[in-house]
């Protein structure tokens, strides 16, 4: 227990306001606050990062600051903080649907405050009290207060087994510049949110507390990755939390208050991270998208191009419904990047294909019909010829395996017999992608290949099992394609909602489902990719009798 407390303390002493904001929201909810709005940090904040209502119904505005391991001195207070405090306390809360004329103001920092500054604050409060403006007093919450709040998120619920503690330590000692260690996170988060085979059934109150605690765990596991501004790692971790929350509710058939709020917070965090990633890509001077040493980066830069184009294609779909002017400008810049043909891409394995579908759709949305059709055919042919390693191998394993053929210092990491040859886990999805894109002639031409190939899909035994990164229970379905099929029937089949395979709560959060199939490619089954096509894109929104 002391170890966990120490971990939280260390994390708090090294994190920025952006990183601790979602956990802070969770802690507020835990204290009875109702979160109305949690902003991404931008110029429109007017000193208010979070707007909430406390248990007495009073409106509260919070300004968050990150001063890890620092002491706020008088000069910084006077020059930097006081103007922000004025905006926080004096400007009314401007948010649609709120008519409150007064609000309580809070200044929150994970650093500490010098005694002289406390004195200045007391004097300012005294002045306000004398002028009958006590509602303009700003309450300060510092490191100690935050620590108390976070420890209140039931750290005692965290898995206490030696193996889980070991995994937790392994995650927080990562350098932070690698891909997020999903398998390790799956193990500890699965234990915490009661998704293990032998987990006990929680009651509603318990599940509420578990979710709050899981948010804190996610924040702490992301510590090293946040330090390196590894936005994709942060997206993965928060998205996994979102999916696991849905899974726990589905498994135990319990609806909690926390889940709705948490999913909103997670969406905010994920979108802000994707926005930061987009900005980094667009503003980057190094157009080759290199990272670190040029020599060794040569071998993985095309993998990076593929991943970034997939992620940003996905983001161009989910961000477009947010609609602000700044957002549409960002999306048009994103589309420019997506269509830029100078980036060589590496379709390294079947696990890259769910992301490639988003890229394919983005190319189509931008009216590059011929290029999009060619790409769809290429993806299908790769699957039909079983030319790619199976969907269960990740990029690191495959690139290592490729290099082991050339460099003796690389040990082969894949059993070559299990490379997925003679079988494809994504062929059916790729064929239905062409059906959805209304490529009737091409589908007709490739029908023989489709019939002759072996396509398999893993369908988890339960809906909540679909939400797990790996599950032991389920069946491999080998699809036998009939010799002939009607085009209209194929088109209709493509529009089936996959409510028999995954929870409705996940279906209704299509932004999360889209992210999930990129994080866990083996969950990109045909009904899901079809559903995402019809939900996220505006392509071919016509009835299925157009041939």
């Amino acid at each position: 227990m002391q170890l966990l407390e120490k971990l939280i303390e260390n994390w708090l002493d090294s994190t920025s306001e952006r990183s601790y904001q979602p956990i802070f929201c969770q802690a507020l909810v835990n204290r009875g606050y109702q979160i109305i709005h949690s902003t991404r940090h931008n110029a429109q904040e007017h000193g208010k990062d979070i707007i909430a209502r406390n248990s007495d119904g009073e409106l509260c505005a919070f300004q968050l600051k990150g001063h890890p391991r620092k002491m706020l001195g008088l000069s910084q207070y006077n020059t930097e903080i006081v103007p922000q405090l004025n905006a926080l306390a004096n400007l009314p809360v401007d948010f649609p649907g709120l008519s409150d004329t007064k609000h309580k103001s809070y200044f929150v920092t994970n650093g500490q405050i010098d005694e002289v500054v406390w004195q200045a604050i007391r004097l300012a409060h005294l002045g306000n009290d004398q002028d009958d403006r006590s509602h303009r007093n700003v309450t300060f919450w510092v490191r100690g207060d935050l620590l108390k709040m976070f420890l209140g998120l039931d750290v005692s619920l965290w898995p206490g087994e030696v193996d889980d503690s070991k995994l937790l330590l392994e995650i927080i000692t990562h350098n932070g510049d690698e891909l997020y260690p999903i398998e390790k996170f799956h193990e500890i988060l699965g234990s915490l949110v009661r998704l293990k085979k032998d987990s006990n059934r929680p009651n509603q109150e318990e599940l509420n507390r578990i979710f709050a605690s899981a948010a804190l765990l996610t924040g702490i596991c992301l510590g090293p990755f946040e330090k390196k501004e590894n936005h994709w790692a942060a997206c993965c971790a928060w998205a996994i939390l979102g999916v696991y929350i849905i899974a726990a509710e589905e498994r135990w058939q319990i609806k909690t208050k926390q889940s709705e709020f948490l999913l909103t917070t997670i969406k905010e965090v994920v979108f802000s991270k994707l926005e930061l990633l987009s900005e980094e890509v667009i503003l980057r001077k190094d157009k080759s998208m290199g990272e670190g040493d040029m020599f060794s980066d040569y071998f993985i830069v095309n993998w990076r191009h593929t991943l970034i184009k997939s992620i940003l294609s996905y983001y161009s779909f989910v961000a477009s419904d947010q609609g602000t002017d700044s957002k549409s400008e960002l999306i048009s810049q994103l589309n420019e990047f997506i269509l830029d043909g100078s980036y060589q891409m590496d379709v390294w394995g079947e696990a890259a294909l769910p992301g490639m579908l988003f890229y394919n759709w983005a190319v189509m949305e931008n009216c590059e019909v011929e290029a999009a059709n060619q790409l769809a055919i290429h993806i299908f042919k790769l699957c039909a010829q079983s030319a790619l390693p199976a969907i269960y191998y990740d990029a690191e394993q495959i690139i290592r395996h490729r290099l082991s053929n050339t460099l003796t210092s690389f040990v082969p990491s894949i059993n070559t017999e299990a490379l997925g040859f003679k079988n494809s886990w994504f062929g059916r999805q790729a064929f239905f992608n062409m059906v959805n894109l209304n490529m009737a002639d091409d589908c007709e031409g490739l029908w023989t290949d489709y019939c002759q190939s072996r396509f398999t899909e893993f369908i988890p035994a339960s809906k909540w099992g679909y939400c797990l990164y790996r599950t032991d229970e389920g069946i491999n379905i080998g699809h036998v394609v009939p010799d002939s099929e009607k085009w209209d029937d194929l088109r209709s089949l493509g529009r089936k909602i996959p409510d028999d395979v995954l929870p409705l709560a996940l279906i209704s959060e299509s932004w999360l489902l889209g992210l999930w199939i990129m994080i866990c490619p083996s969950r990109a089954i045909t009904s899901v990719t079809n559903y995402l096509f019809w939900t996220l894109t505006t392509i071919n929104k016509v009835q299925p009798n157009e041939k």
């Binding site: 590894n230 020599f295 071998f299 993985i300």
Partner: protein
């Protein structure tokens, strides 16, 4: 930061260092061919053993035996691209180095630079400027006599020696110079003493 795979890159950098070490040693020309004398306890006579960097040699042969293409390019060509700049720089350094050495020696009237003419006469001048050692039987010891330089220079030297061989006067002068060098070495040997 953008998504990355730092563990693979770390291993690649390690492989690159090993490869560069092989390239560097290979570029040292005839000097590298000398058997490596390994000192170990009890080897009072400096007996030579085979070179111990067998791993690097194996690595070098593996690089030559490329099995897979990388996006249409072989690993060898990838390496070649990366090393191209390094090799050009090395050649430039060699050229500049030889030229400065050449200038230095030309001032003393001894040698002509890589771009100048190198004839039998010049070679004799060069030999005359060198100091030779002798064997236990008072014969000139030529085993450590090695040439270090570019292939162009080596060709010029070969031509110059051919010229000496074809000219009886030059041969006579060469014999005289070598005999003089042997006598000088014998004198130096005779003059060895412990000064107290």
């Amino acid at each position: 930061m953008l998504p990355d795979l730092p563990k693979i890159k770390k291993d690649l950098t390690k492989a690159q260092s090993e490869f560069l070490a092989v390239i560097f040693r290979g570029s040292m020309g005839v000097l590298n061919r000398a058997a490596k004398t390994v000192l170990w306890e009890g080897n009072a006579h400096g007996v030579s053993r085979p070179s111990e960097d067998l791993d690097s040699n194996r690595f070098s042969s593996t690089i030559g035996d490329i099995k897979l293409d990388f996006n249409g390019e072989t690993l060898e060509s990838v390496f070649a691209k990366l090393f191209d700049t390094g090799i050009k720089m090395g050649k430039e350094a060699e050229r500049v180095g030889l030229e400065s050495l050449s200038d230095f020696l030309t001032k003393r009237g001894q040698v002509i630079g890589p771009d100048g003419n190198l004839d039998g006469e010049t070679v004799l001048k060069i030999l005359d400027s060198l100091e030779f050692s002798i064997t236990a039987k008072d014969q000139l010891d030529l085993s450590n006599f090695a040439f270090v330089g570019s292939e162009d220079m080596l060709a010029k030297y070969k031509d110059a020696f051919k010229e000496i061989e074809a000219d009886s006067i030059l041969i006579e002068r060469l014999t005289k110079i070598l005999e003089q060098k042997r006598q000088d070495a014998i004198t130096r040997k005779a003059n060895r003493k412990l000064v107290r």
